[in-house]
Symmetry: C2
Subunit: 215 residues, 2 copies
Amino acid sequence: MEKDISQAVIRRMPRYYRYLGELLDAGVERISSNELSAQMKVTASQIRQDLNNFGGFGQQGYGYNVRFLYEEIGKILGLDKQYHIIVIGAGNLGQALANYVKFEKRGFIITGLFDVNPALKGLSVRGIPVRMLEELPEFVKNNKIDIAALTMPKESASQVANQVVELGINAIWNFAHLDLELPPHVVVENVHLSDSLMQLSYNIVKREQHAKRQS
Amino acid sequence: MEKDISQAVIRRMPRYYRYLGELLDAGVERISSNELSAQMKVTASQIRQDLNNFGGFGQQGYGYNVRFLYEEIGKILGLDKQYHIIVIGAGNLGQALANYVKFEKRGFIITGLFDVNPALKGLSVRGIPVRMLEELPEFVKNNKIDIAALTMPKESASQVANQVVELGINAIWNFAHLDLELPPHVVVENVHLSDSLMQLSYNIVKREQHAKRQS
DNA sequence: TAGATTGTTAATCGATTAACAATC
DNA sequence: TAGATTGTTAATCGATTAACAATC
């Protein structure tokens, strides 16, 4: 059994993917770890180490073929597959996800939108009708769903997460501000916007203290 | 000059803050690093080390006073101050931020909403009117703004970021999917939703490979 | 072949965990 | 005072960087 790749490496992969995509769009054919290092402001050593966790994608004396590396990283990230997503919570955030066309290009297809608010009945976002939450079991039975995005208030998130897992969905993109406790086979990715905002305010305060110390 | 505290520690602070807030709401008065460790699923050692970066908040033989520690972490994160935020890009995501009342409780006040789309003229979210982007310089001159949240498409993000910095705003909450290149005094916090989604799909693929190997 | 650049091993640096003396 | 638990030092572990032999 091969060793697990560290989360630090995984977090960097989408960024490599993005830079390579831009190079590809710009018509660049090959790139060395050194050139990429300069653009991305990470060490060339780190780039080579990171990539070699997954295999040898380059060639001595040449560097990396941009298109090839782009596609390989895409495969590593699972972007060669399709994922059907339901969004639970059809407020602004849920609608924002449903509207974000870029996701579809990468194989993430928003298939359903759910809410408990009857006022949203009849609303449809990019052709996807908002369904009432009680229709969820039936819907999941009839449609292969890979991911549930939770964009409802945190009060109901825990319960809905359990329900979703019981219905056989094993991957959750969690925007609710709490830690979900779920069976180990369930993959959870958290987006905690308020944590992010607090990191920002920490850095603002730090900068101001720093400035004060200077003077 | 004291040493910089590592980003790893900073990223964990909002989570401590959240758990302590919940303990406070639950009426818990004191907690030991060991009890907290069990709840948060991190080591007690890490909790003590993290906190002692900022000072000794506990007491031997007693543990930590929940309310005191909660408030101290709040101060560390700068939550004892107010921040005025403008959101540039009044699409679903921008509206979601403007609507998120929880932020206000922590001192983050959405003060303005901007967009280039004339169709949004007249719209108002939680009493905040959507203004046209050309009104931005005037608005920033007349209002003290601390943070600009960028929720517009990435194509214009770089240019708007530069403008915002020129107008004297030195903190950016960046939702656009690109790396902003700004002067070093500007604090940037990125939220890259598609990176997050790719990490999720990576973990889905990993789990499936794992399951296959088992069988 | 000579030059360039990878893949990979070794060295360093930093972060996490363990241990325990200090002290409430 | 005895017991509990912190604050902090030391040990371990892991991640990053440097160096260089392999090789295109």
